[in-house]
Symmetry: C2
Subunit: 741 residues, 2 copies
């Protein structure tokens, strides 16, 4: 996989450091310098990391991404052959276009549509035929390029917040540009488009049905596309429904792609597209395609295009602006010393952490109201966010945003509260205004409470309390966050009611949320604090002192029997546990480590059992519940070295500069946030407990720009010293005192 | 078939006259009186007549039509089981909705979409399931009603020029209203819709691909639909693409109709729909649905709705207005004496003659420019027409419109000239702004020339000359009217170049057109008259004196050998002849009957051979070329009785008050126009020769209102006298002199 790795700007430095083999880099390199130059967008693009090397800006609505997961047996992974959740895999080899608006680092298929590509010669609108092998793939933040081998076309793409610009450089002869609205990563189909002028089309395409299970989470993306040159000819296509056999005599297009060369009005269907053809290109001639998207309306997409690509904007303007935006954001943390490899891992991680949640509103502030057909406007100067993969990101990503990008985290908090106002519920796994109900728990509570407890105040805490209370108190029949709330409230746990339900995983999320809520209540002087703290202790219900693990419990109070704590490895079904087994959850109670130590029979036994998870290969670095495990050792004096060692080993083993350099699904920045915190030497292990467990940083010096109005300091300065100096656990405020300047 | 015949308003009178069996009519009847009361919309609705009993107004854009040709084996004819060109057949029995915008009397599938129906109980959006048997079917011009047996729902529909109103009367319980945009008679698919409010949707659906062969004649119909009551719930559906087998584990909707109960934005796809549900209806509660269409835009449809159904407009208002419009138009001809049966045939024929061409423009005058994506506006007070089935209608329908509805014919002429200005060509078989190139010839010439020669002057004759000259002179490679123009111009005929081409049929059309053009040229003082007259004599090339028939000729001048003039009966392939055999074409040269008589060896032999066509069962009353044959006898003194007898026999045999009461495809009014003229005792047998061949009228007295500014008379008064008085042939002017008042 290393041989397909391309990132020329940093490749020279990487070769020198031994990170990359020389075979991968063929061009002279700029010296590495700015943080942005250390980002390698190919990291995480295989091994189910599901990141992609496409172009975007930090937290941008647009992400324009190479699509190489359909149409050819030469691909290793095919979206139509298995569950597949990314538009791009680095080990694939058949390119079928640039997707406009793509998710990065998720485990379910969605978005990744509006597929744009170019060909030469006779028009063919079947992606099995027009797709092509490619070479000379290159990417830096905000820019991606490749050569389309079948055509000798160079294709490059770049982006603004809501628009993309793609430049195709053609060889001599006939060239074609194709936009395919029939395919994409999404499981939804159906699109409509209309020609506005010979160089502009507008339309919409349906997206959604995230994870298949969210079959009602459906929403349209609207678009405006403009091409830079008037084509010699153009038309639309639509794949025809298969007809009756007798009809084939008359209908030559039955079941095939029908071409509509003369049609120029509205076109709708499951599988439609538009093409532009250019006769007599001279070698090196370019056609640029501007694409703007909106989740509000076609008019919104048009406004986005006109605001972000005003007349005269060149491809290079956009690329330079995207680079500048990335560099500005990445520069909030500067690192010195340490290996080049670690710098690449670190800045690429930070790059990944700044992709989702992304903004949702158009340039005029309009956004689709949560679970509604109406439109609202975000206050000027603020952003409405979307793509809240909260079961993942409540654990560490939002803590990173809270500290380093507090203006963004504050807008996200206000977005979450707006969703509550609009829809009656805080988000669980929100996707473009639709709640997908993916994974379990009540994760917004942890995000809101933690942000407040660390010091963010730019949101309505009374409204937040009301919103959080809803999931924490509503009866099960109406509780969209906690469908098993009745059992949980009355029994203190969620009993196993079906062979492979996720009852323990559900309850653990509720304990975590209720712990954070109790801390929020206490901090804001609310009496309910005790109730929620008591609930949070309910994890004891699952603890089996004999096996020393969490074990599903039935509604009569008895444990599930027989029971094998290892059942559920490798995505096998597991009774009570979601995407893992008992070992991946047993220590996932960071809010009550003291309780755990007692339950396990004291510190020694606790450490022994926790260490055994690692020694016996039961630790999953890619599934969220256990990623705090390495930090739990540090709760016990004298055992901090285990944290240091294991964190270091995990960083070395699983976080690399290769395309498989993320241990598994990136989960919207959660994997990368684990690495970022770990490399900075501090980890926010307990949502709702404003603290950090320390570890040895990977750099000699780390400087984090702070907002002094929020944190009372201008920056943090973390210098690598001896291991002792990076041991133990400190509060958020102590961290500011210790490292703040 | 008679047993399914329903037309209650006139049924009483028909029963009395013996036209109908009493079993068919169960309700007390109004006395027959106004012309509109003699119309039976069920005539022609089987036997491939392809008319339908739907509601519309004269020459209206909207025609709302019961759709009963899919979804059940109980139907005799299924649109998906064979070539099928009508949304309704009277012998079918499974109703799946009202189509909005339907063609009447055509031989190719198109339009007939936006299928609206109602059900009760649990929602089911699969038409195989929600379709139903029906009873108590009733229709009068502008109104149609039936009971949906499966649901106990009464459904009635009525129309304005561009809108429909449908009223569903529900039994107690839950009711549903469904609009299906996935099915229809058209071979095009693809639709998009969006919710505007809980009671309004807007959208568009693709139509076209007429006759399959016109695969580029594609155009959208735009619509706005409003319901009269806020539903208890609503949603949309979309049939999902069939997915991979592995995917079925996750995707429960794969290949099925997926319901989107919470979705309220834009929906697009091949097969989509929208539903409204009402809880707790009380028996007899009604929901009314207003549907407006436009071929310009959604905004156009909205304007049409607001103009034609302003606030407060009731169902009964619309129905009464439609009746009034029909009665006004039908009243231009009043008949006295004669049988009730003949009155029904006559007025139903006139009703059929006033369906197509229909208006195309929105209330603001906007219409889609011919073969263009732009919009133009028709001058105030005038109409833009569409659905020009000219190979059929040039023969007799436009002559009827010329005489009785000259303001309409003039607007049609101006429409045809506007099409020439817009597209460069006069229409051949035009459908909603697209040229379908169906059938052969250059038929606009006959229409324009004949109208001019009879006396219409309300169009630009210089432009008309230019337009007609294009088809008559352009080389074959660019000649969209006469693709075999090169052969025709150089050889004087079109040689057979493929086994089953339609070469003779093509050439006969060109002779006919060139004859009309020569007469126009002469009448407007143009020298080219002679050239075109000479061309028109070219039919001699095909005359085989041995067989006494027209016979295909090869490019070397030799006749096709072997040759059987009967080959081509019953839609078998026929060398040289289109939808017929040599006998159906041999006498189709009305512009040169003298020439024919000579060629056939004199009057006696001519009469003998012509009579043999009838005696030997070679006459096809349902295919256009030979429908003038009965009138040709009258060109020979002493033989007029044959015309009288045969015309009378054909009227008796093929034109009846039963659903199969049209001999075959109505062809947009051409069959009916034959009956109307024949029953009035005069027939315009030669396009371009402003004359009529007379026959004995079927009524004692016929009064035709005339436009005195055009015809110099206020009305015609034709009284039935002895056979001699109705013999021979008279010029148009002589007709006005003889019968005008």
């Amino acid at each position: 996989m290393i041989s397909r790795f391309r990132a020329p700007i940093i490749a020279g430095a990487l070769i020198a450091s031994g990170v990359l083999s020389g075979a991968a880099a063929k061009k002279p390199q700029e010296p590495a310098g700015d943080p942005v130059d250390f980002v390698n967008p190919f990291i995480g693009t295989t091994n189910f990391g599901t990141t992609n090397p496409g172009a975007g800006v930090p937290n941008g609505l647009m992400r324009v991404t190479p699509f190489n997961v359909m149409g050819s047996d030469t691909n290793r992974y095919d979206k139509d052959a298995r569950w597949w959740s990314t538009p791009y895999d680095n080990t694939n080899s058949f390119f079928t276009g640039f997707a406009h608006g793509a998710l990065s680092g998720v485990g379910c298929p969605d978005l990744g549509s509006l597929l744009l590509t170019a060909t030469t010669g006779k028009l063919d609108v079947d992606y099995h035929n027009y797709g092509t092998a490619y070479s000379d793939e290159q990417a830096v933040p905000g820019w991606y390029s490749l050569n389309l081998d079948a055509y000798g076309i160079k294709a490059e793409t770049t982006a603004t917040a809501r628009t993309a610009r793609t430049r195709f450089t053609f060889p001599a002869g006939e060239g074609n540009i194709l936009l395919n609205l029939g395919e994409g990563l999404t499981n939804e189909s159906g699109a409509t488009l209309r020609r506005v002028s010979p160089t502009e089309i507008r339309g919409s395409k349906l997206l959604g049905t995230f994870c298949y299970t969210a079959d009602q989470a459906v929403f349209p993306v609207y678009f405006v596309m403009r091409i830079s040159r008037v084509p010699s000819s153009q038309g639309m296509w639509k794949k025809q429904r298969p007809g009756a056999e007798w009809e084939a005599e008359w209908n030559k297009d039955q079941g095939k792609y029908k071409l509509y060369p003369g049609y120029s009005k509205v076109m709708s269907g499951d599988d439609i597209g538009v093409w532009y053809s250019y006769d007599g290109m001279t070698a090196g001639e370019t056609v640029e395609v501007s694409m703007a998207i909106s989740y509000v309306s076609e008019e919104g997409a048009l406004r986005n295009l006109e605001a972000e690509q005003p007349a005269g904007t060149t491809f290079d303007d956009i690329r330079a602006s995207a680079r500048r935006m990335w560099n500005d954001d990445l520069s909030r943390i500067s690192v010195e010393g340490g290996s080049l490899r670690d710098k690449v891992v670190f800045y690429t991680g930070l790059y990944h952490a700044l992709i989702h949640p992304n903004i949702l509103q158009d340039v005029d502030g309009a956004y689709p109201v949560m679970e509604s057909d109406s439109i609202a406007y975000v206050p000027e100067g603020h952003n409405r966010y979307t793509v809240f993969s909260l079961w993942d990101t409540y654990r560490n990503l939002h803590q990173l945003l809270t500290l380093v990008y507090p203006e963004r985290q504050t807008d996200m908090l206000n977005t979450m509260l707006a969703m509550y106002r609009e829809h009656g519920w805080l988000p669980k796994w929100e996707l473009y205004g639709r709640e997908t109900y993916t994974m379990e728990g009540d994760p917004s509570i942890s995000v809101i409470a933690d942000s407040y407890l660390r010091g963010l105040r730019g949101f309505d805490t009374d409204l937040a309390w009301e919103a959080m209370l809803r999931g924490a108190t509503a009866p099960g029949a109406e509780n969209l966050m906690r469908p098993d709330a009745d059992d949980y409230f009355s029994l203190g746990y969620v009993p196993l009611r079906e062979q492979y339900d996720n009852s323990v995983s559900h309850a653990l999320e509720y304990y975590t949320a209720d712990y954070a809520l109790s801390r929020f209540a206490a901090a804001t002087g609310r009496a309910d604090s005790t109730l929620f703290a008591e609930r949070a202790a309910g994890w004891h219900n699952y603890f089996d002192p004999e096996l020393g693990v969490l074990r599903p419990r039935l509604s009569d109070g008895s444990f599930l029997t027989p029971f094998n704590p290892r059942q559920g490895e490798n995505f096998e079904p597991s009774p009570g546990f979601h995407e893992g087994n008992s070992w991946n959850y047993t220590f996932a109670i960071p809010h009550d480590v003291e309780g755990m130590i007692k339950a396990h029979g004291g510190e020694k036994e606790f450490v022994k059992r926790l260490q055994a998870v690692f020694d016996n290969g039961l630790y999953d670095p890619a599934n969220e519940p256990d990623i705090i495990y390495p930090y739990l050792f540090s709760r016990i004096k004298g055992e901090e070295w285990r944290t240091h060692r294991i964190v270091g080993e995990l960083l070395d083993k699983y976080f690399t500069t290769a395309p498989d350099g993320i241990p598994g699904n990136e989960d919207c920045g959660t994997m990368s946030a684990w690495a970022i915190w770990s490399m900075m030497g501090m980890y926010p292990d307990t949502p709702g407990d404003p603290a950090f467990t320390l570890t040895v940083p990977r750099f000699d010096k780390i400087t984090v720009k702070l907002d002094p109005e929020i944190w009372g300091k201008n920056y943090l300065e973390i210098k690598r010293r001896n291991a002792k100096a990076h041991s133990g656990r400190i509060s958020h405020d102590e961290m500011l005192r210790r490292y703040g300047k």
